[in-house]
Symmetry: C2
Subunit: 296 residues, 2 copies
């Protein structure tokens, strides 16, 4: 008998405000990874202040995209998150979707509980875990929360809290371009330089396979900052002071980029936003020139 | 007779909104570089839509800081900028201050004219040239203008125009943190990777000596992006698409940092925003521990 192969472990980490009515690129990808017409999806709306609306919206979209079974899990306390019944619903799911809202509510109610452990187990057995906005950040082991807008990193501009730990070496921020979160992300990486910083734009997702290979889909970009060889003054700068961060390496990765999270390098890129008109015109010109040259 | 030494060539490039009523750190530095009580300063208010107010404000501040002679040069056309009289006023100055406003007005009215050449000459002979906001950007050879806010670089988010050329290899942007100009600066560097991108925060200045050594003063930071070894898709991405930029090296440089613009590396750093309380407490603790250890 052939050896049973390891399951493909997929995460879909979304920067918030993903398209739900147009091409639905990202949520379509999620349903596909969850098994499409054979999927069993559980929505966790707990971060949101409007959980019923969240469940309704995503149930509608996932059903339209072909999912035959959408349920939800919405613990109100760590006691709830310890119930066997909730963990069993997670154990039965082929896809788990964590909504936006307040990520500190997720770390308060889920991290380290039997429900949290069931989510980690689901990832290990090959169920896809998706999260948007707060649901994206909670996937980190070291989770970002709070902070001001702006591009200059400042001492204590943001903070770290324990997250689910689905992505151990990466701090995940979201609404990155729309809320100008470059500075707050860099300020955390300055203090913990062995963690990669990742900032995901709205309507954009990082799909991480087997903990290492990341591909980008959606209309924005994923920003990665690698400060592992950088020099900073995060050990001595006073609160709110602009931080010294010198020698960090950055990557802005749009749709079509594939990135290795271990080496922090681009491994593949397929242009998805090409200027078709310009490219076509240039090719025609080149062909015409070549043809003319051949005739003489 | 000893050989006459080359003059020290100084530029003071300010990110806009520099303090004029408190410690006046940056403008004080400017007057000092211009010769203090022996200085002869010319203000160029031409970028501004309120040139009279600009002249009044800076004249007051520079006079308070000890400058005995503040004049102005305000050409309204390239014909004006060709007048010998204006060039002579620049030739007599020990410090030239270019105000904020619309930098395209400066490239229209001054770049390449006898007045523009007089400014370059002044720099060569050792007069200090300062510029704030638009007056900072115009110092580049390749000058940035126009563009949206945001941190994700997008194709054609900004544009280049010919500047004065006081800083040949650097694109200078300003109000950098306050207006979230990371994306627009990166989009230009993606297309011209041999140019360094520099973004200066408000109330912050880069002092460049002899075209190479840069030191930072003021309350914010100076951002530098070095995309010389980066990979981008700026040759084929369509308009407004998020750009691929992978492997750019970035530096956030606060007060006290010294940076070599040729090698694009930090050469010195003196912490100016130290958390004095924390540092003192730690030192006491270390001393106490050491003393205790020595007693046993």
């Amino acid at each position: 008998m052939p050896e049973r192969s390891d399951p493909r472990r997929s995460l879909l980490i979304i920067g918030g405000a993903e398209d739900k009515v147009g091409r639905v690129t990202i949520l379509r990808r999620f349903v596909r990874l969850a098994g499409g017409r054979k999927s069993n999806i559980v929505v966790i709306p707990t971060a949101s202040s409007m959980p019923d609306e969240v469940i309704e919206v995503y149930s509608t979209v996932f059903t339209r995209l072909g999912c035959p079974s959408v349920g939800s899990v919405d613990p109100q306390s760590r006691v709830d998150s310890s119930s066997e019944e909730l963990a069993e619903r997670i154990d039965a799911a082929s896809g788990i979707f964590i909504s936006g809202g307040n990520q500190l509510k997720l770390s308060q109610l889920i991290v380290g509980t039997p429900l949290g452990k069931a989510i980690l187990r689901a990832h290990e057995r090959g169920a896809v875990i998706a999260g948007t906005s707060a649901g994206a950040s909670i996937m980190s082991q070291f989770m970002i929360s709070m902070g001001e807008e702006g591009v200059t990193p400042r001492q204590r501009a943001s903070q770290l809290t324990q997250g689910l730990g689905l992505v151990p070496g990466v701090i995940i921020d979201q609404h990155f371009d729309q809320r100008s979160r470059y500075g707050r992300l860099l300020s955390l990486v300055a203090g913990s330089p062995s963690l990669l910083g990742m900032g995901i734009d709205e309507d954009t997702a990082a799909e991480i396979t087997n903990g290492r290979e990341m591909t980008i889909i959606g209309s924005g970009a994923v920003f990665v900052v690698d400060a592992r060889m950088a020099q900073t003054d995060a050990h001595e700068a006073r609160r709110d002071a602009p931080l010294l961060v010198t020698g960090a390496v950055v990557h802005s990765l749009p749709y079509g980029a594939t990135f290795d999270l271990e080496t922090a390098t681009l491994t593949d890129f397929v242009e998805r936003h090409a200027d078709v008109a310009v490219t076509a015109a240039k090719d025609q010109h080149d062909t015409a020139t070549a043809a003319a040259a051949l005739r003489h």
